[in-house]
């Protein structure tokens, strides 16, 4: 469960989103050109000095209609710095044809969108949209490269243009829809975001990947809930089986406990004896189970399950890989082991209570 979640998240973050993004405060709620970042340089200076920040880049997004002689389609056109973008996202490695780092009126377009528009490399496509000052923009671009990230919606609606040309065309100099940031350690993103927030202008806000990928994070939580319910069911039946066997073990030794009690061994000592017995059994089981299960988790992390075609079927949902890896996580192994140990210890409570009910004479006469 953890492995597939991590994999989905990692794929989505690495492909385009990044670990965090800096927006003008109302951009995500209100949207539009009124809520852009109008001073990139100031934020870049802050980010350059921040420990833990790996790379950052500015993006300007706009929507419009792209048309060829026969076809039209809605398109998200994004102005990017191709060099910086290659360090923060997987756009460069997603190249399918043509070139990635183009200049002038050259588009780097999602393969599905190019197909929808019946475009081949070097074909021309017109774009009609709105500039940052809300003036009308229309231009003719050349298709210089196509990409395929596997994220269906993204590939069928996105195209990228180098910042120099984009800025000139859309009046977007020193402007961003947002600044995408990658970090050295994803686990540190909350802390880094907090540090950056303190230094940023007050009208900007840092969104971490948990907020940027809210829907996916929530979906994983739901999946985890169902996973934990199922695990709870397994733990429940395992607990009862251990308890039943513990109880059978104790109930068949009532005479023995009667003898022990009659020679002066206290109930507390018998409790301790039973407790030690269950601890020895539990540790024996853990010694066998923990390394073998850890090995399996490690093995399937290195050699994930592959379900051919799953990414194609689930493409609308952002699944971009057929691999379903496990996660070799020492913490997960530790807490699962701990749960089993606790269940084993709990399972001896009723048998202890059962033994305590007998007086020495009753116990010795027990059949």
């Amino acid at each position: 469960m953890n492995g597939s979640h991590n994999s989905m998240l990692k794929n989505s973050l690495e492909v385009y989103t990044g670990a965090m993004a800096i927006y003008q405060k109302d951009y995500r709620d209100e949207g539009g050109y009124d809520y852009l970042i109008y001073d990139n340089a100031k934020i870049f200076t802050i980010l350059e000095k921040e420990n833990g920040v790996k790379e950052f880049t500015s993006r300007v997004e706009t929507y419009g209609i792209a048309s060829t002689d026969d076809e039209s389609s809605a398109m998200m056109l994004t102005g990017i710095d191709f060099k910086k973008e290659s360090k923060i996202s997987k756009l460069k490695t997603a190249l399918k044809s043509g070139i990635y780092d183009s200049s002038g009126a050259c588009l780097y377009m999602g393969e599905s969108l190019a197909k929808k528009l019946s475009l081949k490399l070097q074909d021309e496509v017109s774009f009609v949209g709105t500039a940052i000052d809300y003036s009308f923009v229309a231009d003719i671009f050349k298709l210089c490269g196509t990409f395929k990230t596997g994220m269906y919606e993204f590939d069928s609606s996105s195209a990228f243009l180098n910042r120099a040309y984009f800025d000139e065309l859309f009046y977007a100099q020193n402007t961003s829809s947002y600044i995408a940031v990658s970090v050295n350690e994803l686990k540190q993103s909350d802390l880094i975001a907090k540090n950056i927030s303190k230094k940023l202008p007050q009208d900007t806000k840092v969104y971490t990947w948990q907020e940027l990928m809210k829907a996916m994070v929530e979906l994983m939580k739901v999946d985890s809930i169902f996973g934990y319910i199922s695990m709870g069911l397994f733990f429940l039946v395992i607990f009862f089986v251990i308890m039943i066997y513990g109880f059978i073990n104790v109930s068949s030794r009532i005479k023995e406990f009667g003898t022990l009690k009659s020679i002066g061994i206290s109930d507390r000592d018998i409790d301790t004896l039973l407790f030690y017995e269950i601890i020895i059994l539990t540790l024996s089981a853990v010694i066998i189970a923990m390394p073998s299960s850890a090995y399996l988790a490690y093995y399937f992390e290195l050699h994930p399950f592959v379900i051919e075609g799953i990414s194609e079927i689930y493409k609308d949902y952002g699944i971009i890989s057929d691999e379903i890896p496990t996660s070799f996580d020492l913490f997960t192994i530790a807490w699962n082991t701990l749960v089993i140990v606790v269940l084993n210890i709990l399972s001896i409570i009723y048998p202890i209570y059962y033994v305590r009910r007998f007086t020495p004479i009753e116990a010795m006469r027990h059949v």
């Binding site: 929507y63 209609i65 809605a74 809210k214 994983m220 009862f240 066997y245 109930s251």
Partner: protein, 403 residues
């Protein structure tokens, strides 16, 4: 004779009350939780499939060839009315709707988003899939310039009831055209294609906007309860692209299959552990009474009678667990069916995968019957090993050894 054996078995099964209660508790709790999970997963998949059929594909949909690959309105069905008439004449077809869809760009005052404009006849849609039930806010009296918009699309465009939305696309003549709507209803169908990117309005308006004839459509969707009807339609409309629900929604079908597999694996694991539990109890119960069985054999009691008695003992224990497990499972399923599992806290995540915020469970007789047979099977299987022990007994030695 068998009446006596059954009576003895019943008494013996519950002779050691603590053991019996523990075993029944284990079976009933695990069965109760297992049935709840099974019902909830089934309910989740059934709900997604039902809403997808009602809001979009029906049991089968007909498209013009190449439409589904290109999503281009030039691949359309021209003689819609004739096809509808022909479809309605087929036995088993309960309702038919036609739709016309255009891909384009929706714009609010501040935002733009790729989307689809779908022209429908709302009266037909009501018969087809109770479309009004998908309306979260507003109503379907759209008037001249009204539209209904998918919930997520409205959210992305920062639109609400009464807002204006402009849709821009290329018409049939190759000209870029825009059309303005006022939002009269917001749709929450849990079908992500609709909720994320669809604007609905009256079909005649969309056809005029697109510049195509009124008898044109891009999809004809059919509701039917009959599988043979699907085959007939596929055969009859071979010049078109006629696809059934499973072909149109492989993801939903696969999700349902995966849930079934998961339920079966869970079922198998739980029943295996139940088997281990019964085996332990029965084994010890028999070992405790080896001398008793030795005496019975010495008195001329046949082994087959002992076997029957032991099997019945295990069955009584298993059935005790089944009865309480069924009651618990039914109560949990009943609560989940009528009150549901509220996951509104994760609304965005649920919506992104086309799931409703509140999940309702299904209750099917098969849950109980399959558990019944599995428990019977586990109970009978669990006594084989202990019975082997009895079968090999030498009565004289056993009586001597224990005396």
């Amino acid at each position: 004779m068998y009446k006596t054996i059954i009576n003895i078995a019943l008494k013996n099964a519950y002779l050691r009350k603590s053991r019996a209660i523990l075993l029944i508790l284990m079976i009933s709790l695990s069965m109760g939780v297992m049935l709840s999970i099974e019902g909830l997963y089934d309910g989740l998949a059934a709900n997604m499939i039902d809403k997808s059929k009602r809001s979009d594909s029906g049991e089968i949909s007909i498209y013009a060839k190449e439409y589904r690959e290109n999503k281009d309105m030039k691949f359309n069905i021209k003689n819609t009315q004739d096809i509808i008439t022909e479809l309605k004449s087929i036995d088993g077809v309960s309702s038919v709707v036609s739709r016309f869809s255009i891909q384009g760009l929706s714009q609010s005052a501040t935002k733009s988003y790729p989307s689809s404009l779908v022209g429908v006849d709302f009266e037909d849609e009501e018969v087809f899939g109770k479309f009004s039930e998908f309306v979260e806010v507003g109503d379907l009296n759209l008037g001249k310039r009204g539209c209904a918009i998918g919930k997520e699309l409205a959210k992305n465009l920062k639109l609400h009831l009464g807002s204006k939305v402009i849709f821009t696309a290329r018409d049939a003549h190759g000209d870029i055209q825009s059309i303005m709507f006022r939002i009269k209803a917001i749709i929450n169908s849990t079908n992500i294609t609709i909720d994320n990117q669809t604007i609905f309005t009256n079909k005649s308006r969309v056809l005029s906007y697109a510049g195509v004839a009124q008898n044109t459509s891009t999809q004809i969707a059919i509701r039917t309860a009959s599988n043979s009807c699907i085959t007939i339609i596929k055969d009859k409309f071979q010049n078109y692209d006629a696809k059934d629900f499973k072909e149109l929604n492989p993801m939903l079908k696969q999700m349902q299959d995966m849930m079934k597999i998961f339920n079966k694996v869970t079922f198998f694991i739980v029943m295996f552990v139940v088997f281990i539990g019964i085996l332990g109890v029965m084994y010890v119960s028999i070992l405790d009474r080896v001398r008793e069985f030795g005496i019975m054999l010495a008195l001329g009691y046949k082994y087959t009678y002992i076997r029957t008695q032991v099997i019945f003992e295990a069955l009584f224990l298993g059935l005790g667990g089944f009865v309480f497990g069924s009651i618990l499972g039914f109560i949990l399923l009943y609560i989940l069916k009528h009150h549901g599992l509220d996951l509104s806290k994760f609304a965005d995540g649920m919506a992104s995968f086309g799931m409703a915020n509140i999940l309702y469970a299904n209750i099917k007789l098969i849950y109980f019957t399959s558990s019944f047979f599995a428990i019977i099977f586990a109970s009978i299987l669990s006594v084989f090993l202990p019975l082997k022990k009895i079968k090999n007994l030498n009565p004289t030695e056993v009586i001597k050894a224990d005396s």
